[in-house]
């Protein structure tokens, strides 16, 4: 058995994953080989300023919003005591299970002019009543903030809790008020975690297509689709996607700088809350947390239930069992595969922290930053190329059927998920691995346990919690994933997201409530798992 430290093992493995991700990125870059100047001229004249403006406004708005919401909620639930804190603490993570496009169509359906809220108000106050439109910049930002704040909340909460009591007590003893202690001690120390959450939220925002198109808000992603579907120019669409990639790289570099400077603290745990709130303050805290929870979770669930009762229940048939089992099995297998691969990368990075290795690993994580649809097409092209130039000639030469094997196979779909969600799994695993001190495996080796046994008996048990949260995150993301699933699913492998797509593309929002509700419920299981795990920390 080869030694675990062999560079002949880790480099080829890391190189393999990087090559996998390089495949679709290469396809994207190759699109620059032909440039349709008339389309670019048109985009430049009429669209680009609006697109860039809208995209920046959206990113800034969502960024500020998720930080305000995520940090304030995390601070309150992790360091203060107020009525309802115990359940709000975990309840505030539940919106993780709601896909952005679902919250978007719930909000527009509920709050638009023809929706129940405004209709009722008009009944009360007369038909001349006009409220600010929900399909506006403010509306789309609000929805995305409510969907993506859990990233910041989850990570900031972890950071605040890890700071322990000693630090804040020291700050207080040195004469800082709770507020100033927050600004001068807790917040700066939590910045790396907040930054990581913010980066994830921003990447999701930049890649979002579903929610912005419900709001008719024009961004880079909607322009990408328009160029592809409308002008029939896939190459111009991919070129636009490359520009979007530049935005994403800026976000990633900023995050890296932020994270690079500080190390998160890990102290002894607190037993009791630091700031027991009383009176008005306590109720204000409850109201704030409760409001966010109601808007981001209770309201959409109630609306989905109402729609389900109105229309969706007539669609409920045995096919839903298939949809749910397809969705669950694809999600589970993809999660397993992605976590295993991310684990390999994390080990490679740990064993050989060379510059090349770091770049390989960073590169392998790029898939998450690309808009899902474009990545899906790029992967489809890559597989199709392999089919046509490798699989078919090979199989013909060996006397096989000479038919494409990759595209349309379950394996190809799983690899697409792997490429897309590697970063989601890698983050938690890298963190978990970093907490295992080198002295532990060293001690183990000196006691004669090395190689594979070392992995099974030392690493895996220690890494299990990290693996679990990585797997849960990937699982939820795969459930929600739409473009790659649509394009590459094998015949008969429809999932809940596919069903939502079919109904919403026909404007049948209320019928889409059934698959949406099912998806949320299925997605809730792992989120609850995640919560239970983080509660033990």
């Amino acid at each position: 058995m080869t030694h675990l430290n062999s560079r002949w093992l880790w480099y080829p493995l890391a190189l393999g994953f990087a090559a996998l991700v390089a495949m679709p990125i290469l396809v994207l870059l190759l699109s620059w080989s032909e440039v349709d100047s008339s389309i670019w001229q048109h985009l430049w004249d009429t669209q680009l300023p609006t697109l860039v403006g809208n995209t920046v406004v959206l990113a800034v708005g969502v960024g500020v919003g998720v930080v305000l919401l995520g940090v304030s909620l995390a601070w309150l639930t992790s360091l203060c005591e107020f009525p309802g804190r115990r359940w709000l603490d975990w309840a505030l993570m539940l919106p993780f299970a709601i896909p952005a496009y679902v919250l978007a169509f719930v909000f527009v359906g509920l709050l638009d002019f023809a929706g129940p809220v405004q209709s009722t108000l008009r009944d009360w106050f007369g038909s001349g009543l006009r409220l600010p439109p929900v399909r506006s910049t403010g509306g789309v930002i609000t929805v995305l903030v409510l969907v993506f704040y859990p990233y910041v909340y989850l990570l900031a909460r972890g950071a605040f809790m890890a700071q322990g009591r000693g630090l804040m007590e020291a700050a207080r003893v040195l004469g800082l008020s709770p507020w100033r202690a927050f600004w001068r001690v807790a917040l700066p120390m939590a910045w790396p975690a907040i930054g990581a959450g913010l980066a994830l939220a921003l990447m999701e925002t930049l890649a979002d297509f579903g929610a912005v198109s419900v709001f008719n808000y024009q961004t880079f992603t909607t322009a990408i689709y328009k160029t592809w579907y409308g002008f029939y120019s896939l190459s111009s669409a991919t070129q636009l996607a490359c520009l979007l990639l530049v935005f994403v790289l800026v976000v990633l570099m900023a995050e890296k700088r932020l994270r690079g400077q500080t190390r998160t603290a890990s102290e002894r745990q607190r037993a009791a809350a630091l700031f027991p709130l009383r009176g008005v303050k306590a109720w204000a805290a409850s109201a704030w947390c409760g409001l966010v929870f109601a808007l981001a979770f209770v309201v959409p669930i109630l609306q989905l239930l109402a729609w389900f009762w109105e229309r969706g229940r007539f669609d409920l048939d045995s096919r839903y069992l298939d949809l749910v089992s397809n969705t669950l099995s694809i999600g589970a297998v993809a999660a397993l595969l992605t976590v295993a691969s991310a684990l390999v990368l994390a080990f490679a990075r740990r064993q050989y922290a060379s510059r090349q290795m770091r770049s390989l690993v960073a590169f392998s994580n790029l898939g998450y930053a690309l808009p899902g649809s474009l990545l899906a097409v790029a992967i489809m092209f890559a597989f199709s190329y392999l089919d046509n130039h490798l699989v078919i000639p090979l199989s013909t030469a060996l006397g096989g059927a000479g038919k494409p094997l990759l595209l349309g196979s379950l394996a190809a779909l799983l690899v697409a998920y792997l490429i897309r969600f590697m970063a989601v799994a890698y983050g938690p695993l890298e963190g978990a691995l970093a907490r295992i001190r080198p002295s532990i495996p060293q001690a183990s080796r000196s006691l004669g346990v090395g190689g594979v046994a070392l992995f099974w008996r030392i690493y895996l048990p220690l890494l299990l919690p990290g693996c679990l949260s990585a797997a849960l995150l990937v699982f939820v993301d795969v459930l929600k994933e739409m473009p790659a699933t649509l394009l590459m699913r094998p015949f008969g492998w429809d999932t809940l997201a596919v069903r939502i797509y079919a109904l919403t593309s026909e404007g049948e929002w209320s019928r889409a409530a059934l698959p949406a509700l099912t998806l949320v419920l299925v997605g809730l299981l792992p989120v609850i798992g995640l919560i239970r795990r983080s509660a033990r920390h």
Partner: protein, 332 residues
Amino acid sequence: MQMRPLFAAVVLAATTFTANAAEELVVYSARIDDLIKPVFDAYTAKTGVKVSFITDKEAPLLARLKAEGANTPADMLITVDAGNLWQASQEDVLEPVTSKVIEANIPAQYRATNNTWTGLSLRARTLAYSTERVKDGELSTYEALGDANMEGRLCLRTSQKVYNQSLTAAMLKTWGEEKTEAVVKSWVNNLATDVFSDDTALLKAIDAGQCDVGIVNSYYYGRLLASQPDLKVKLFWPNQADRGVHVNLSGAGVTKHAPHKAEAIKLLEWMTGPEAQSIFAKLNMEFPANPSVEPAPEVKSWGEFKADTINVEFAGKLQPEAIKLMDRAGWK
């Protein structure tokens, strides 16, 4: 030398996975599951030929067809508008099919001039108006929606939707660029609110009083009326004195590299015949492309109308021009 068994496994998989019986057709469909599966089910029940399919939007399906090239498993492509069929034909992924059956069943204006595809069901993109706030004689043509009496009363769907792109392309073909751009600009000026992302939302807005008139596909109206019989909205057939109502279609073509070409042609022919056409008519409140088949009773109750006879291929040919025009006119 561990590679041999791997190769053997690949070959084995290749032969087992793809050893499709000829009695199975593969379709790439932009019509969603609900709106196509009943047609295939009826065909399977009748002939025993199985039809498996995947659904997605046209552009990804077309990209996949192109990428797969000669090795595609797909026998047929189905889209929900003529522009995309024209584009598929341009990209050379469809096979010309000369069939007496199809020619007899479907009028020439709903088929490709090069025989690469045929329409299967038609949808009118027409005016919907509030029965409470629009007076008799206020509506006449698409173009008149830009008149001063419609200021602040018009609702439109987003220009991102191919149906509006085809509508504009048809105007471009009829009126030329200058007049079309003026019309589209006058529409945008008359908007009561931001454009909607779907026709159903637009119809509900008319019902709720946010605006008085809009342009929608006929079947969205039919569907909404079925679930809300008290809808205070009706359809109006515009341009009856000149070019007629803009009609688009959902159609299909046999792929160039179809593994089962003969079988696929048989399916396509059957889909234009009375049996399949009446399924299409019932499924989605569309008009059958075969004129000998009656539309559904609800659809009939909307009344007869004169349809624009322009060949729908222009929708595809002029689509990029139409989009640029709509962008210039500020139609979001």
